[in-house]
Assembly symmetry: C2
Homo-oligomer: 162 residues x 2
């Protein structure tokens, strides 16, 4: 299996899991968070499948394609260890869906980041709220739930607050 | 259709066309050229599906994942308008397969680049030699041939020297 194969599986799974999460959260209130914007392709997709939702983006520095750049007032600019607590203060535990693709080259480094990030993500979600992540997260109270059929196991994870 | 959808289709088509090109050129002599290395995912895939081939990479500056970095003597470093003529001098019209994904954000800019690049690519291919490109190319003598079934039309192009 080549790195291209792995990458394609990750992208396919990311899309499948996000589409699935939209089904699972349909009609329920709350904002959506995108952790890391990057090129903005996934943000573009999220806007398309959730046109009615407010989607807030957390990023150190915006470097996305102009077609996929969030409005200024929808961005939490800076270090997530500061912006996620700020978002918790602002919104409380009301977030409906959080997506993250930490995905760097270094798998061990991603895992360390996922571990560090998990306690910052966990308190944000509302009851029934969902996190879609390309990396395994380390939550205390969120439960990992089954992937949709068109996702590739281990290329994506879905967690839900009970 | 979101930018994520378009991107997934491009990656799926790139892989399908490369796999197809390997079938079409099986047992025929000649090196393979990868124009643009980027992250190296596609190069990694090409090495996997053509372990017996010499694959030369053309790139301005190597910035690939360490798992997908070519040996130094397999790289033509610099401007393609200089390195492709140098390769033509070295190999003559013997190349079996050329792959290019010029794919930047700016479609108009890609098209200008594809037009400028085409006359540099065309003389390199051997009879029956194939070019797989994510962008439409502007060849005088190469013929566009049908895509494999698992590629998405217009997301990839295959050209062959008669």
């Amino acid at each position: 299996m080549s790195r291209l194969d792995v990458f394609i599986n990750r992208m396919l799974s990311q899309r499948a899991c996000l589409n699935h999460a939209v089904e699972l959260t349909k009609g329920q209130p709350g904002p959506v968070f995108e952790l890391g914007l990057g090129n903005g392709r996934t943000f573009h997709h999220m806007r398309e499948i959730m046109p009615e939702r407010e989607i807030f983006v957390f990023e150190r520095a915006i470097a996305s394609n102009p077609n996929s750049t969030p409005a200024e007032d929808m961005v939490f600019l800076g270090d997530v260890y500061e912006t996620l607590p700020a978002a918790l203060k602002r919104f409380g535990p009301t977030v409906r869906l959080i997506h993250a693709d930490l995905g760097g080259h270094d798998l061990a480094k991603n895992d360390v980041f996922a571990k560090a990030l998990s306690p910052y993500v966990e308190p944000l979600l509302d009851h029934g709220g969902i996190m879609v992540s390309s990396d395994r997260m380390y939550f205390l109270r969120l439960k990992e739930i089954p992937l949709p059929q068109d996702a590739v196991p281990a290329r994506c994870h879905i967690y839900q607050r009970g």
